[in-house]
């Protein structure tokens, strides 16, 4: 049983434990919130209270700059997980009708014979984002901008649903061994190039990263080159531009050949 005096203030163990802890806390708080900020010019510029607020992580204003200019945005599309939901049959049907407009370049089954990108099995959020970017002029193409202008938001969703519904231009499975280009498998850490398969499938398939297997080589080369030269800029946070900036012409060719090669072994599936 506790001795009656254990939890009484006249128990010196209790008294000194509590006093020591309170003093320690007060002293460290004073040092952290008052004394240390006082030797920091930025902190003390607006007085004691402002410096305490800054030390607590809540400055009255985050910046003294007159006004922050809105940065140029790569895209107005916010990728949303809802875009990836599997659509109902009606949407696929409507999309199939609309897609008759696209067959000339993208193929009757969404697999192109004319170096336009394959759309069969493409992730819906990719189709949605690119079409909206064409509408907004964030991605440029004489043909696609004109065609996208006439599409309503629902048309775009329906098209995305239809193409997602088609079987992917997938070929026989590839073993991811040393025979593949290094940039595809492991990237190049010292040039800050992540492996393609970290986002475009195999290791992981990130939201908004397109399905690349079976893409026409000329199309992949053109897009990587456009990202590298900065003529294509609709990648949020410059993700792709930063990846490919230091890639050489040969490396681009190699990577594109890898993704296209898969198509040539068993095209149109």
């Amino acid at each position: 049983m506790p001795e009656p005096s254990a939890y009484r203030w006249d128990n010196p163990w209790l008294r000194w434990s509590v006093i020591a802890l309170v003093v320690l806390t007060i002293v460290t708080v004073l040092i952290g919130f008052v004394w240390l900020p006082s030797v920091h010019g930025d902190f003390t510029a607006q007085g004691l209270w402002a410096s305490i607020c800054r030390a607590a992580g809540v400055p009255a204003s985050w910046s003294n700059a007159p006004s922050v200019k809105a940065a140029w945005r790569a895209t107005d599309v916010v990728l949303d997980r809802d875009m990836t939901r599997i659509a109902d049959k009606d949407a696929v049907g409507r999309g199939a009708t609309l897609a008759l407009n696209c067959t000339m370049c993208h193929g009757a089954q969404g697999v192109s014979a004319s170096d336009a990108p394959n759309l069969a099995g493409q992730y819906p959020e990719v189709v949605i984002k690119e079409l909206r970017d064409y509408q907004d002029g964030r991605r440029s193409s004489t043909i696609m901008e004109a065609l996208a202008k006439g599409l309503s938001a629902r048309d775009i969703d329906d098209l995305a649903a239809y193409y997602a519904y088609l079987p992917k231009a997938r070929t026989s499975p590839t073993t991811y061994d040393e025979a593949l280009p290094a940039l595809v498998r492991v990237g190049d850490p010292l040039r800050n190039i992540a492996p393609c398969i970290a986002c475009h499938g195999q290791v992981d398939q990130k939201l908004g990263a397109p399905w690349l297997e079976g893409m026409p080589k000329a199309y992949v080369v053109a897009q990587i080159t456009a990202f590298r030269d900065g003529t294509r800029r609709n990648d949020p946070e410059a993700q792709m531009r930063n990846m490919v900036r230091t890639m050489t012409r040969e490396e681009i060719d190699q990577v594109a050949a890898f993704y296209a090669r898969k198509a040539s072994t068993n095209p149109g599936q």
Binding site: E3, N11, W13, I31, F33, A55, D80, R81, D188, D204
Partner: protein, 539 residues
Amino acid sequence: MFLARKLVLAHFAVALVAFLGAIVLGEWQMLVRSPLHAWVNNPEHYYRSVTAHGTVMAYVLPTLIAMGFGYAVSELSLGRALVGLRWAWAGFWLVIGGTVLAAATIAAGRASVLYTFYPPMLASPVYYLGVVLVVVGSWIWVALMSINLRAWRRDHPGATVPLAMFGTLAGAYLWAWTSVGAAVEVLALILPASLGLTDTINAGLARVFFSWTLHAIVYFWLMPAYIAFYTIVPRAIGGRLYSDTMARVAFALFLVFSMPIGIHHLFADPQVGAGFKFVHAAMTAMVSVPTLLTVFTILASVEIAGRLRGGRGALGWIKALPWDNSMMLGVTFSFVMLGLGGAGGLINMSYQLNETIHNTQWVTGHFHLIFGGAIVIMYFMIAYELWPQLTGCAPLPRRLVNTQLWLWFVGMLVLSMPWHLVGLLGMPRRMAYYDYSDPALHPQAWTVTMSTLGGAVLVVSALLLVFILARALRTSGPSPSFTFSVTAHPGAATPALLNRFALWIVMMIGLTLVNYAFPIAQLASLKEASVPVIPIGSR
């Protein structure tokens, strides 16, 4: 006396099997990123392995050891049958079930988020559920420890709680409070996102909650080792515990100070104010007090052993120590690693010095040295000490045990020292491969080979450990009675507050509120802190 034998044995057996699996994964990770091996083709396999290694080594192994050892201490120190044996088994099966769920999800590639979770990365909800089950199982243990102490107190009014049980309860209460942080993170933030109910997550807040758990969990891991330092080591080497009061002060201080200091893990996180970072750094420094008290008390206890064996003079007692005694060897290795790791820890907790080593291999080296070295080697000693009790086996082969301890010590230093060195040179951690062909990295390549060799020695040591314990199952010997250390001043009065926990728990909770309430409230109210989730392996 020792009715919970099967229960304790089950905890240790599962812990050791899991440990053996995880250590092989660790060595594989070292090998594939060393110059001895080509780059791993699928980096995701590397992170899968890191997640499994960390989840087992950080959650499963120490939880099972702390639980098993706690049940043993409860029976052996209180001298009465464990109350709530059925609940204890239920807790055990929860831990096993949770481990299997988490391991299966990791193996399927649906949880490569590392054991520290790192939102906005999200694993499959099954993984988090598995971890939650492990923690819930351990909460049953916390409750049982408290209930058993209460029952003992009822029968022994006014008596002093045996030191081993006092330490166990300190560890249990510490764990109960510290696991709340990660529990809130998982239940309130991660699971809703992982289940698809929300598509953003307040990553900054989640990290603050995890830091609540992340540092004090180390002291939960450490408690069994410290209990062994105080209550087993002096007896095992023929000495006396220098001061029972000092031991209790150390446990009470750990309870108060190891909890509200986790923001020192977030020094590089911009979402936390610099003032709180300083306060947490200063309080982290306070943890060195119970650590140094322990070092002093145990060294004094060891000195008593040396002098009782006829050692004379300022250093003569060191020569007189029983150096062929496994416990002597174990505690020496543990202290050397604790000293080196602790010195490194002082650098980690300093706001400015931390900048040089933050997120480098130094950190990996630090926690392997402290946990894998100083603490886990004491887990081995606990297993060796309890084994004859648990299995009725013959005394363990001393030479083999000493070899195992030497291998662990040497292996751990060879593994972790190169990490410290390259950490200072800036080598980042959590890398699946390094490009050694680059002239800037080439001169550091040998260090990774070195660590790989150190890891190989550790694997051999772990195999030897399991071999020694498994072979002992086939022997039988006299069942010795288990005793804890005797203090140098038996019968000395224990201050009433060092026989109870309420004050220390109130201080722990109060200090947590002072140190965490504002950062949590501020981040929780900050709308902009929510970021889109990144589910791993969802497609």
